[in-house]
């Protein structure tokens, strides 16, 4: 450890990290645009300048992202000189930056906006017109570039070079004519483009999917875990007005995903759509499935399971550990073995984040003693049974068309997010999707990822844990009543 002095106070800092890291970890809010803790520092924006004095010499102003820490260094991040220098930098950065905040998607989470508000001048001094450049340049399907807003920090260029290691962006042209560009205006490729919108400190690179979708201060942010592969990246789930899911953003987690996430998980928005969701419960009437009270549906499910024979129990790979424990209790009461549906590995795997395994809680469910089974084997198992429980988010969709061909003598109980209208179904209850419940998933490395409640589940949908508990309680009362008879 190295000892430096910040504002006259001695602090111990990591010698491997640049000065700006030492300042940030010690409560000094030095602004930064080109510096990103996950990328190599270049010192191009100059906004992180601080006053530094070493030994007895006069103090100097240095860029803190490119300055290594040294013993005995005295740093004055809030001195008048440092503020003046930063303010001048800001004026140059704002020289050509359009006053786009009312229409800019970054407004509200923009570093340039925040620091301009804190330190900038109320009025510009320049009389020359601003640069006129292309304002909606498509860089492929994911990213839209606004050249006017760009402050040429080159974070995006370095991200593409250093993280997915697919250099595609560059700072083209020279001096005042510099712009961010791809070679011959080719569209960007790769699975990590979405991160460009996150690393961009201004609104130059925005997600085309999120473009003008919401103002960021209207989004309710909840911590969660991505469920699209067994990596389980830590994410922030952002929901507009308690309803529509608008975006996932990566959340820093040194053990799992650091600052990044892949586009597969980032754009898994449709999976959490509220459209067509199973609200409340359905039970089989004389012919059709009819809406019912959830308690009646639980009664009906219990009736199915009290018939002789051991029901087949198949769980969704999205089940949390807590739900898995309840399901194990239920299966014990029924004398059945639990399988969990494990779709085959997809071809999305890479050496950065995506594992290619679509089961986010494989380790957790295997730890509970559940055995993996693929859709074909699951359907075969179901067609040979007299009663069955399929349980968890998206289970109907994963089992697919084959469910419709199951024999009508099979009495099937479904706990799913989406309604499933096949002849075998006797009772059906809604379950919350993974952004509507709490729980834990164990990722491929054994790291526990927590789910958070970003919005309430549709009306009449109880947490799966509660539904399974009710079912176990209902079964035990029927068992004792039957014993007395």
């Amino acid at each position: 450890m190295t000892t430096i002095q910040i504002n006259g106070k001695d602090v111990e800092v990591d010698p491997k990290q640049p000065l700006i890291h030492a300042l940030h970890t010690n409560g000094c809010d030095v602004p930064m645009y080109c510096y990103h803790p996950g990328l190599s520092p270049v010192g191009s924006c100059r906004i992180c300048q601080v006053e530094v004095q070493q030994g007895e010499g006069p103090s100097r102003v240095v860029v803190s992202c490119r300055t290594p820490v040294a013993d005995g260094m005295r740093v004055f991040p809030d001195s008048e000189k440092a503020h003046d220098v930063r303010r001048e930098c800001l004026e140059f950065l704002l020289k050509n930056h359009p006053l786009d905040c009312p229409i800019c998607d970054k407004a509200g989470e923009c570093d340039l906006q925040d620091y301009s508000f804190a330190e900038g001048q109320g009025e510009g001094r320049s009389v020359e017109p601003r640069r006129k450049l292309e304002k909606r340049k498509s860089l492929g399907d994911v990213i839209v570039l606004d050249e006017e807003r760009c402050i040429l920090c080159s974070r995006c260029v370095r991200f593409m070079e250093e993280v997915p290691k697919t250099p595609q962006l560059t700072v083209a042209d020279l001096g005042a004519r510099s712009v961010i560009a791809t070679f011959m205006d080719r569209p960007l490729t790769g699975k990590y483009q979405g991160n460009l919108a996150d690393v961009c400190p201004v609104g130059a690179l925005t997600l085309s999917a999120f473009r003008f979708q919401a103002r960021v201060w209207n989004l309710t942010k909840t911590t969660g875990t991505c469920g699209e592969c067994s990596r389980g990246c830590s994410v922030t789930t952002e929901v507009l007005r308690g309803g529509e899911l608008k975006r996932f953003r990566p959340r820093y987690n040194a053990d799992v995903n650091t600052w990044w996430m892949c586009d597969v998980g980032r754009f898994a928005i449709e999976e959490h759509s509220l459209e067509g969701r199973l609200v409340g419960a359905l039970v089989r009437g004389s012919r059709e499935l009819e809406p019912a009270d959830p308690f009646d549906a639980i009664d009906r499910a219990a009736d199915v399971f009290t018939a002789p024979g051991h029901p087949v129990v198949i769980a969704s790979p999205w089940l949390t550990v807590e739900e898995g424990e309840r399901l194990r209790d239920l299966a014990e009461a029924l004398g059945s073995e639990v399988h969990f549906l494990s779709p085959p590995a997809n071809d999305l795997a890479d050496d950065l984040l995506h594992t290619g395994d679509p089961c986010p809680n494989r380790r957790g469910l295997e730890g509970l003693g559940f055995s993996p089974i693929d859709a074909e084997a699951a359907l075969e198992l179901l067609s040979g049974a007299t009663s069955a429980l399929i349980c968890g988010e998206r289970i109907g969709a994963l089992l697919g068309e084959g469910l419709g061909e199951l024999p009508e003598k099979l009495r099937l109980v479904v706990l799913d997010t989406m309604p499933l209208d096949v002849p075998a179904v006797r009772a059906e209850l809604g379950v919350p999707s993974s952004i509507e419940r709490t729980g834990t998933w164990i990722n491929v490395d054994g790291h526990a990822g927590k789910l958070g409640i970003a919005r309430s589940a549709p009306p009449g949908v109880a947490p799966l844990v509660q539904t399974l508990d009710d079912l176990v309680a209902r079964l035990s009362t029927t068992a004792t009543a039957g014993g007395e008879r």
Partner: protein, 173 residues
């Protein structure tokens, strides 16, 4: 219990007629005085540029809406009366409202939306009347809120004067 004694009437008062004449003279004088009763609703209420009526969205002469759905009025609104969703347009300013609802039953006519607007797109109009048969009908959507800028000119000029803003209507590139 208190016994209130009535005042004995004098002779002239008991005569009754002179008092009638005195009363009628008051009426006669009032007939020729300036009238202060307003014949509302036949006669609309007088308004001026200071009137803070219901908020309305300004539409330019070329039929384009000024609002860019930045959401500042939505966040400034103390009564949570405004709901906005944006969408992309082909115009130079790339964003416009897809949905702009003001719940007129929630609106308290405070004028914060007008003050917050960076694009001079929402003004407190001179429209004061608000009546309908259902609550849903009083949630005004964008089509009900649009007004040509000429209809809001008086208030717009006043707001410019009040805020000492610069005269050009657009404050961005």
């Amino acid at each position: 219990m208190v016994i209130v004694k009535r005042k004995e009437l004098s002779f002239w008062e008991r005569l009754y007629l002179p008092e009638v004449v005195r009363g009628l003279s008051v009426t006669m004088r009032a007939i020729f005085r300036r009238k202060i009763t307003r014949q509302y609703p036949e006669e609309p209420l007088a308004t001026n540029e200071v009137t803070r009526g219901q908020p309305r969205l300004a539409v330019n002469e070329d039929d384009t809406i000024r609002c860019v759905s930045c959401g500042l009025c939505e966040i400034a609104c103390p009564a949570y009366a405004i709901t906005i969703d944006g969408q992309e347009t082909d115009r130079f300013i790339e964003r416009e409202p897809e949905r702009f609802d003001i719940d007129m039953l929630r609106c308290i006519l405070c004028g914060f939306c007008e003050e917050a607007c960076p694009k001079d797109a929402i003004f407190m109009s001179e429209e004061l009347e608000l009546a309908d048969f259902s609550r849903e009908a009083l949630v005004y959507d964008i089509e009900k809120l649009k007004r040509p800028i000429s209809a809001l000119q008086r208030r717009s000029d006043y707001v410019y004067k009040l805020n000492d803003r610069w005269h050009s209507s657009s404050s961005t590139s």
